[in-house]
Structures are given as C-alpha cells and as structure tokens.
Assembly symmetry: C2
Homo-oligomer: 344 residues x 2
C-alpha cells in the first residue's frame, strides 16, 4: 500500500465557536494523503488526547504559545501513533511514537517532534499519567506551589487529568489535599480511589462554607485550573504566603463577552498584597527541557508502587471526538480523556 | 520638668473615614502624659512620617499586619524623636531615636522597637530614603521584581516616596525606567531630577498609548503601588515572564463599596497564565530581619555617590498632618511626605 492511495478521515474546525462549542463547529471529512517524500513517515493514530487548551486555539486570537487553528484545518492534538511506512532514517515501520498528529486517523510526518515510545505496555498513558497533563500537575505543584509536609493543597477539577495528579502528588509530599469536583460521584471517586482527604461538590450552594470546613487550617497552595466561583471560595481561605500556580481557567474558556460586574480584581489584588500571595502562571511547554526527565522517572515509580492511580476515560472512534470534547469542557469525564482512534 | 506635668498634643481618629478621609475624621486634642515608670522614656517628636498604609488602619477591619486604630486613639505613624527624659538603661536624654510614636508631640515609650539613630545629620531621612519607603522599593524591586540589565521597569507614583526610589534603583541596575505620575510638573521632576528615562501623565486620556510608546520593548517589571487604571494600561504591555511585585493600591484605599463591573479579574488571570507572569504581594515588615542591613548599606552609598536623590516634602506642625495626609492619598506631594512636628 503506498501512501498516496490512502484515504484519511479527519475532523476540521468548521467554524470558530461562539462561547461553548457545538457539533456544528466541527466537520468530519475524508481526504487523501500526499505521497511520502524522503525523510517522511506515515503514521496511523492509535490514541488522540483531548485537552481543554484546544478550546483556546479555536479562537481567532490563538494564544501566546500557539497560533489559532485555521478554519478548515484539522484540530490540533497530542497523539500516540504507529509508524506504517517510514522513509525516515530514525524510524521504522511498527514503531510506536508520541506526536501531535491532531484529530485524524493518519498523518504524514517529517519526524520532528516525534518521540519513540519503545514497547510501552499501555501507550495511552503517554498522553496522560506519563505525559503532558501529569507533567503540568508536577511542575505547577512542585516547582511553583512547593507544598510542605502538613500544608493544605486545594485543587479543582479533582477527577480530571491534571487535578487528579495534583492531588495524588500532593499526598505523596505529605500535604492535606482537598479537591473540588462536579457532583457526588466524582467526589467519592476523588476520596475513595485517588486518596484525597476531602472533596467538595462544586455545585453545592454552600461551596464556600463546605470548603472552609474542609480546610480548618486554611489553604497554603491553590492549584488554579478552573477559575470562576471556585476561586472566589478559595480566596478568603488562603493563608499568609500562599502560592497559587495558575494553569488554566476552564470556567472562562468559553467566555465570549467581557464578564459582568462587580469587578473582582481589587479584592484579589488586595488579598495578594495583604497575604503576601505569590500567583504565577506557567505554560508547560516551557518546562520539558529542564524537568520532563525528572517527572517521568518519579511518576513511573509512583505508578509502579501504586501510589498514583492513572485513571483514563476512553471513547472509541475519531467521530466521537467532538462530543467528547464538548463534554470535557463541561466536566463530564473522570480521568484522562482519550479517543481510541484505531485498534492497534 | 517631670513628665506628669507635661501637656501633650495629639491627633486622634475621630471617626472611621467613609471612602476618602475628611478633616472631620481627625481631632486635635490636648492630654497629659503619665508619670514615667522605671524602664520608660519620654520622647519629643521631631518628624512624623505620613504614609498611605495609615489609611488601611483607619478601617474597622485593619490589615493582616496591624490591627485597626481604635476610635479616639492617636493615629499610628513612624517618628524620629529626641529622648527628653530617660529612666531606661539603654537610652540617655538627648538621644535621637527612630520609633512609632504616632501623631503626637510627645510619647512615653518602654524602649522596645526604638532604634538609635546616632548623630545622623538629616534624621528625617530615617523615615524616607533610609527608612521604610525606600526599603519597600528595594525589597520589592530587587528581591521580587529582579530587573535585569536592559529590561524595562514601570512604576507609578513615580515622584512619591516609594516610586521615586524604585525608579532610581532600577536605573542603577541598568534597566530602562518609565514612570507614571500625576501631572506635567511631576513628570518633569521624574525625568530631570530623578533620572527616569520617561514619565507619563496618568491624567493623559491617551495613557495606554503613551505608555506603549514609552515601552517599545514591553514591560518586564511592573512595581504595583497604585492599582486602578494604571494597571489596565500596563497589563497588555507585560512581557512573557514579567514580574509584578505588589506593594499597595492607593487607587483603592478609599474604596468603600465593591467596584462596579465589568469584572477585570478574568482578563488579568488569563494574562498571568498566558504570559507566565509572577505576581507577588509583600509587606515590608516581613523583611527587616533579613534585608535591612544590606539596604541601608547600599542606599547610604548610593546617596553619598549622588546616584540616588532623596527628595522630601516637609510640612510644619502637627496640626498640618490631617490635611497633608488627605493630600497624600490624592498625590499632592513630591517626594517623601514628613511633618516637622518640632524644631530640634
């Protein structure tokens, strides 16, 4: 089979979402792949990662770290792929690789930005517990949050790909860990499966009071990955010298217009001053060169020891990706959301 | 003269200010001082420091670092005093001391928290260029802001006690320094006297555009001491990995009710994330033990070398303090505002 005969199914950005994405913003289409040139390889996608940052790249402005997805082009995304044909000296047919092939069943690659995965027994973990989301948790929590033994760490999205890892790593470091998650089932999962000390339902009308009860000694580290009302509940509980690593704001990713008042900024900046808070944003792409090896070594050990549980939420088929992604932004998954695009 | 015969004039908090303080919130009164006990000393105030933080202590809530001033009690404040009578083994009549005697002409002290000033030739500098405000600039700029050679530093209140020092220290460290100040006269002072590279009038309706013009390479350090509209103009100009030491918010000190919308917080937190910004509050009281000696050594050298100019705004007489303080919150002073309470 030569690559120029190969039909490829892919999902492109049909329209820029206005606020929350809808199925009409995506289009499944069939194309043909170009002939492989020397130095290129043909990849078959096994697993596609779905992550909140993709929503930012659907807006025309893009982000500081990546430009917007052009209309009509495939949605970007991390992938685990099998090499089908290789005209590249460093890869052979059959190799398992981590890359960014995006929302499509096949891709042609020049080999740059591909990482060999060897014979990894559960390769989807390269997109989750041994990949970007857990690495985000590791760097944000340990390098910026710096929790000490006996301190209290709070994280929202407690059962999501990042939050679940923040909580589990914080427990390993001896912190008291309080999660926030959407609904009683998720909260039970956070406590019973992931080992959080407590977990509060973010839909609870008494969220602020429940969080205060669960944090009798205040909050030393708040890993910010959701924004919105959770942050309002956290703010008055932050201790002197609290650290707030800022990783994302799912609550605002679908914001279209400026948010109505009152203006919450003065209250936040006043707390930053009075409580000597350090609030620091980070983008995980900046940290691979320095920290990824340490992360992979630590995390592999923790998973092997059973100290970290790597929970996945797997959906089948490329065509399931839009609906699963829309659900991700609404918190419908438990664990790392991946699409199994093809059976290996 | 024994201390129990001594009449004392002092200014007490008559009422908690609702928003901006008015003269009616203060009351000048005459009292008698108690007899000195063993271990106590009688102080005569020479200079009283007026600083924005005092406004926070007039609110019922107080702050995280000091409790509210009780109604009917003297306003707190840093002072340079002469020891009149001493029953304390470590001080003698005639000693010059730095302390916190507050808004009054005399005070009885137990000697704690008094620092001897020796024969300092211009003792009011202990309240400004060699004291708390300049130390605030030093710690915030150098320890949190960490400006590098060739980076751009922006500070508002550029001609005030803290801002003037931030700019001058940043110049010494090789940064480009852009000030923001209220009015053309102050801006000229910042550039011509203090050596800022540029200074923008904060009343200029084109503030944001002027600031952008003055910062062609963006902003690496924004020393936050005013809040409000200045921060809105600064935010889009912040560079990747910018640092924002947070020292105070004069623009909000008189805020009474929650500020109207739109809610500026999502835009700020999104910038913190996308630009990997570090925003960190600090209260200068935390840093005396570790950093004051280094500050005093550096600053004395810089003043002696003429690299730092110590500008003061002196008003005469305790009775002038309320009006001068109200003016301070509206930016009417140039340089460190001190009240000369008594001729030495």
């Amino acid at each position: 089979m030569s690559s120029n005969e190969l039909a490829n199914r892919r999902i492109v950005l049909a329209a820029r979402p206005q606020g929350r994405p809808t199925p009409d913003d995506f289009r499944l289409e069939q194309t043909r792949l170009p002939t492989l040139a020397d130095g290129e390889l043909l990849l078959r996608t096994l697993y596609l990662s779905l992550d909140p940052y993709m929503r930012n790249l659907m807006d025309e402005a893009g982000t500081s770290y990546a430009s917007a997805i052009p209309i009509g082009q495939p949605i970007v995304g991390g992938t685990v792929s099998r090499v089908v044909v290789s005209k590249h000296p460093q890869f052979r047919a059959g190799d398992l690789v981590l890359g960014n092939a995006g929302w499509q069943e096949h891709a042609v690659s020049d080999g740059k930005e591909l990482s060999p995965l060897g014979d990894m027994p559960q390769p989807s973990l390269a997109l989750g517990a041994l990949g970007m989301p857990a690495f985000t948790a590791y760097v944000g929590l340990l390098d910026i949050g710096q929790p000490k033994q006996g301190e209290t760490v709070v994280v929202a999205g407690a059962t999501g790909a990042v939050g679940a890892m923040v909580g589990q790593i914080a427990r390993i470091k001896g912190a008291r860990v309080v999660g926030i998650a959407g609904g009683a089932d998720k909260c039970r999962h956070a406590v019973e499966t992931l080992g959080f000390d407590a977990c509060i339902d973010r839909h609870d009308p008494l969220l602020a009071a429940r969080l205060a009860d669960a944090c009798p000694k205040g909050i030393d580290v708040y890993f910010e990955n959701v924004g919105g009302e959770v942050f309002d509940a956290v703010l008055p509980l932050l201790n002197l010298h609290a650290r707030v690593p800022v990783c994302g704001f799912i609550a605002h990713y679908n914001d279209h217009a400026p948010t109505a008042g009152p203006d919450r900024l003065p209250r936040v900046t006043s707390a930053i001053l009075m409580k000597r808070i350090r609030m620091q944003g980070f983008i995980i792409l900046d940290h691979y060169a320095d920290r990824f090896e340490a992360f992979r070594r630590d995390m592999a050990t923790w998973i092997a020891d059973g100290r970290v549980k790597a929970i996945e939420h797997v959906v089948d088929g490329l065509e399931s990706a839009p609906e699963a992604f829309i659900g991700l932004l609404e918190g419908q998954n438990v664990g790392k959301l991946v699409v199994r695009v093809a059976q290996d």
